[in-house]
């Protein structure tokens, strides 16, 4: 909101700023850097839960280790089986890398809107998540390995079954904030001085969202499709070298994207003190060095909140054994989806009641600029 008011016309400066933004900050360069740093945070916390030290020697306390792993995979030899569809394998790897980058452009990082934002962009993001699932399925299909077939089928059923709780969660938040635009969801949270999380059914939906995200990203305890000790790699087994590097980087970017979505939908986006002191936005706009302070402020809060989500996901990774595919799908269809549907209906009745009783008093505590 704040930046765009300055440069109003679609001019050459605007084009240059947009292209630089997409390439470096907050586009591709920033997102890849922070995806790799998030992988580092994940590995260090996972190791700390197990009473050991994670990566240590590359860089300061191992912070360059995910980058080193990625570069090593890029320089490996790329072996392609004769019976496989080579262009199919290459295209699915590239598609799996590009789609999270596109999806990350919608998430508010440096401002309360994303780089791209229009009415109905939640539906586009839901569609993009499904495209990633289809890309993974095709990746396993194109590699033409009979032993990868069980892994691919498991991946397809797992990813598509756990799409549904995510979509239901997104729509409940849209229902609550009465808009289908991510920027408006953040705006609602600023106007009403509280993050969407402050409500009992919303807390349960937050838990459901995190659980389904863990299943979508294929992380333990839900890493059944690529279980190393059972089916030797699942749909990833024929990929090596650059293509495997792209899949790994795509998994990291999806992690950043999922943390960004959870932050935007539930924790109030990149806003911090603004939620409670609305005049802070005006003071920030009037300080000298105008363009820089809001960007730093919003980015810092986004990073703090997304790190918190990643720490929760890393804890979830360490706590349980891997469960079998049929127990897993049973859990989704018998328990998770009916509970989500029931909670949607409960939310419709619960929310106006609590709005009237509790939250009107809360909003009265903070001075609203109108």
């Amino acid at each position: 909101m704040v930046c765009k008011q300055r440069v109003e016309k679609v001019s050459a400066v605007w084009w240059i700023l947009t292209i630089l933004g997409i390439l470096f900050f907050p586009g591709i360069g920033f997102c890849i850097t922070f995806a790799l740093i998030d992988e580092w945070i994940d590995r260090k916390f996972y190791a700390a839960l197990q009473d050991r030290i994670g990566p240590l020697h590359t860089g300061f306390k191992g912070i360059l280790q995910p980058l080193a792993d990625f570069l090593k995979l890029l320089s490996n030899e790329d072996i392609e089986p004769e019976a496989a569809d080579k262009w199919g394998m290459r295209i699915t790897a590239i598609v799996a890398l590009v789609i999270p980058l596109v999806a990350l452009l919608f998430i508010p990082i440096i401002d309360t809107t994303g780089m791209i934002s229009f009415e109905g962009d939640i539906l586009l993001l839901a569609f993009l998540t499904t495209v990633i699932a289809i890309a993974i399925y095709l990746a396993g299909w194109f590699s033409a390995n009979r032993l990868a077939m069980p892994g691919t089928m498991r991946a397809a059923s797992q990813l598509l079954s756990y799409e549904i709780p995510i979509l239901l969660t997104m729509f409940v938040v849209a229902l609550r904030t009465q808009s289908l635009n991510l920027a408006d969801i953040v705006g609602w949270q600023i106007d009403h001085n509280r993050p969407t999380l402050f409500s009992l059914p919303m807390v349960i939906f937050f838990g459901i969202f995190l659980l389904s995200t863990q299943a979508e990203l294929e992380r333990s305890p839900f890493d059944i499709p690529t279980a190393e000790t059972e089916i030797v790699g699942g749909w990833e087994v024929e990929y090596s070298g650059k293509k495997l590097g792209f899949f790994r980087l795509s998994a990291d970017l999806q992690l950043l994207y999922a943390a960004g979505m959870a932050t935007t939908l539930f924790l109030g986006g990149p806003t911090g003190i603004e939620l409670w002191i609305p005049s802070f936005a005006e003071t920030l706009a009037n300080t000298p060095g105008y363009h820089v302070w809001p960007i730093l402020y919003y980015t810092t809060f986004f990073l703090i909140k997304s790190t918190l989500i990643i720490v929760i996901l890393a804890t979830m990774r360490a706590l349980m054994a891997r469960i079998r595919i049929e127990q897993f799908l049973e859990f989704s269809w018998k328990w998770l989806i009916p509970i989500s549907l029931g909670l949607v209906i409960v939310t419709i009745f619960w929310v106006p009641w609590t709005d009237q009783v509790i939250w009107s008093h809360w909003e009265g505590l903070f001075p609203n600029p109108t």
């Binding site: 072996i79 089986p81 000790t229 054994a321 079998r324």
Partner: protein, 421 residues
């Protein structure tokens, strides 16, 4: 970058000796879940395994032949290296066999040496069972339990290093006793570490019994009925988990197990699946810690070594012991010299392999590795002398290779690949 063309093998269907309408999937020699190479040919229909055929022999090293060229004292260190985890049991078993043969002429091992051997045996059982718990947790995807249990295994390894000088392959045995003695500071430290280990193992028992996902993964899998266990001669915790009460330490005591007989219990459990094997091994670890503490408190005084005569009289000796995996048999045939005439070793994994083939039938493919891991396989112990019969009608039944044939074959094979020597 050169691109290699690799042909993807298509699975064969309908082999003549296999069941019809099945696809064959190899649980091959190379697999990330197996620590040592073995081969099972699984015949599957859909996702259900219908039949499993084992094939062993990948780690054959010729130890029995080599043992005929070394003296008994050198053989103790050779036989220890049959297996890395249960190494002391092999050495105790051979020492018992030789001392029984020497006992014909009235040779006796001092009591303190027997107690020290038993203490190291039980310590080895503790470290082996904790190692197995970590590996089984890794197979079902529970890496946290793997890391935490191996951290606590380090206490036992530190004790073993302090007593004997090495973490595996202790070489603390000698025919006629042991080579080292236990000092009072070592005994005090061992008692303290055993207390800590007991507390941690009780904690892991709580976790395994209460954790939902471990139960979901291990209950109802790899079922071995008691009648089948007896028929296929299963030994060790594999049989005890199917409620078959067989334990060499109780039935046929050796070393100091005679004195332990009052407080000894044979641990069995009766749900016949992977979960019961987990429970049996954890309770056995707790029991082993109890025996170590009793043995340390009641250690008799005396010498630890009695010098044996150099030549062993002629005898056929069968010595049975109980490593952490089952029942181990050493058969020794000595003529009147200082080298053995024939030594034969039969290990527990060899006895349990057919039980594995039975367990794998009727389960899903995803559960094959945890079923295989639940018998605690040690394939490097397993491969003694075997004969391979090829059922494929296109080739002759049995092939034997001489050394010159092998060398020629290997030279040709490497020359065909274009690799320079």
């Amino acid at each position: 970058m050169s691109k290699k063309k690799i042909k993807v093998a298509s699975p064969q269907t309908g082999c003549s000796a296999c069941m019809p309408n099945t696809m064959q999937i190899p649980l091959g020699p190379q697999h990330p879940a197996l620590k040592e190479p073995t081969h099972f040919l699984l015949e599957v229909q859909g996702e259900v395994v219908v039949n499993a055929t084992p094939r062993i022999g990948y780690v054959h090293r010729g130890i029995e032949k080599l043992a005929e060229t070394k003296t008994y004292s050198q053989n103790l260190t050779l036989v220890e290296r049959v297996c890395g985890i249960c190494s002391h049991v092999h050495s105790v078993s051979l020492a018992n066999a030789v001392e029984t043969a020497l006992g014909i002429e009235g040779f006796e091992v001092p009591k303190r040496a027997q107690y020290i051997r038993t203490i190291v045996l039980e310590l080895e059982r503790v470290h082996s069972h904790i190692l197995w718990l970590g590996i089984a947790a890794h197979e079902i995807g529970f890496d946290t339990l793997f890391m935490l249990s191996w951290r606590d295994r380090e206490l036992t390894m530190d004790i073993l290093e302090e007593i004997s000088g090495n973490r595996v392959n202790y070489a603390i045995n000698e025919i006629g006793g042991t080579r080292r003695d236990l000092s009072q500071t070592q005994i005090d430290r061992m008692l303290k570490y055993m207390d800590i280990t007991e507390e941690r193992i009780n904690r892991y028992k709580d976790i395994c019994l209460k954790e939902d996902t471990i139960r979901m993964r291990t209950q109802g899998i790899g079922i071995l009925l008691p009648s089948k266990a007896r028929e296929l001669c299963a030994v060790g915790p594999t049989a005890r988990a199917s409620n078959v009460k067989v334990d060499v330490r109780y039935d046929d005591p050796y070393s100091a197990y005679d004195d332990l007989r009052d407080i000894f219990t044979v641990v069995t459990y009766d749900t016949n699946d992977v979960f019961s094997r987990v429970v049996v091994r954890i309770i056995e670890t707790i029991e082993a810690v109890k025996y170590i503490k009793w043995l340390l408190k009641n250690l008799p005084e005396g010498p630890v070594f009695a010098k044996p005569p150099r030549k062993v009289p002629e005898a056929h000796v069968l010595s049975r012991t109980e490593p952490p995996r089952g029942e181990l048999i050493h058969y020794l045939w000595s003529n009147n010299t200082d080298k053995p005439y024939r030594l034969k070793i039969t290990t527990p994994t060899l006895a349990n392999i057919f039980s594995v083939a039975e367990m794998l039938r009727g389960d899903y493919i995803a559960d094959t590795t945890i079923s295989l891991a639940s018998i605690d396989p040690c394939f490097s112990c397993e491969d003694r002398m075997i004969t391979i019969v090829n059922n494929d009608r296109r080739k002759p039944k049995i092939e034997t290779w001489s050394e010159s044939q092998l060398r020629r074959y290997s030279k040709e094979w490497y020359a065909n690949k274009g690799w320079k020597k």
